[in-house]
Symmetry: C2
Subunit: 207 residues, 2 copies
């Protein structure tokens, strides 16, 4: 059982642009349309294979609002798109659909409740970045799984506004997406001695 932040991101680390749009994501060709197809160094990092491994999921209030807005834009009734037990971290009094519960408080308590609901399956942190960061702050974020888009946005919602060291476990080229699965190692220290690091790097020919 792992807690996994799985999201798409721009090359410069935004999960939504400054207009809260994902149009840049939907414009990226995947393996089904891109001539490069799919290639990886291990098990597939396809989202479709991830979703069945998820036992419970959580998103922040902004992410929930985005899903709600997108799925009701043509006047439809809102139906939550996931079957798994779901939580929204919010202090607002939202009119939530079946299967979605509100949570406000310490994410350690939320993690315990989600773990019980997931019955041995993984927990998915859908976003946004600060919510994933809150789990990381208390040592409860195990993995970061990104589908990196070949686009820069320059501004928007940050991927993961924390200082963290990761360890890349797997990589997959999925059309123009680059899927990467990382383990979360922990806080990235502010080291002394990078002066020596720089001198050494330049002695070897450059950074």
């Amino acid at each position: 059982m792992a807690t996994i932040y799985c999201t798409a991101t721009s090359l410069d680390g935004y999960i939504a642009d400054d207009g809260e749009s994902l149009s840049w994501l939907f414009a990226t060709p995947g393996h089904d349309t891109d001539p490069q197809g799919r290639y990886g160094d291990g098990e597939s990092l396809d989202f479709d294979q991830f979703l069945p491994t998820v036992g419970a999921l959580v998103c922040g209030a902004s992410t929930y609002a985005w899903v709600h807005r997108e799925l009701t834009a043509d006047g439809q009734d809102f139906v939550w798109p996931y079957e798994q037990p779901s939580w929204v971290v919010t202090h607002r009094d939202l009119d939530l659909p079946d299967g979605v519960r509100a949570f406000a408080g310490d994410v350690r308590d939320l993690h315990a409740v989600m773990t019980e609901a997931a019955a041995g399956k993984d927990l998915w942190v859908v976003g946004g970045g600060d919510l994933a960061g809150q789990f990381a702050d208390v040592g409860l974020l195990d993995k970061v799984w990104v589908h990196l888009n070949p686009v820069t946005l320059g501004a928007g919602k940050p991927l993961l506004p924390r200082r963290l060291r990761l360890h890349r476990e797997r990589i997959e080229r999925d059309g123009q997406f680059t899927a990467m699965l990382f383990d979360v190692v922990g806080p990235e220290p502010r080291r002394d001695g990078d002066v020596d690091g720089a001198a050494e790097v330049y002695a070897e020919g450059g950074p």
Copy 2:
């Protein structure tokens, strides 16, 4: 002859942290120390093989100041670490070493001068991100080549503060670095119709 922005970046799109340090970069194990070694889908994306293809290079004032500070921190005389004709984009009156010239003005003029100096070789935009963006603004940035580190910083100097569509040409796993070479396609439009994109994605099981 191509104009290439080649740099290291954090996963969340910073080329230096908020203390202007690169200690997080020097802490990432490359192919020589990481058990994953090196694996790619084409020619190597090793920096050592890039540097000899460079005929002229340019950096912004902050990048120049960083190099100067790092290479004189132990009291040494400052020696510019590159053999190629080099420019610093700055309005300040800097005391520059041999081989480095100051430039202020339209980057199209700079590009012409650099192209002549490079004598058929590539131009390297060392950084920072805004300088690379200035070349992109006038259609003179051909490629973006990143060595992505498995670290998030949460704040710092942005990789490329522009809205641009890229096309990934090559990828290489170099220890814990993920090296990616992109062609610059052009400005990424703000599209209508991502509502339909979202609905379609959710109909297929999720983003």
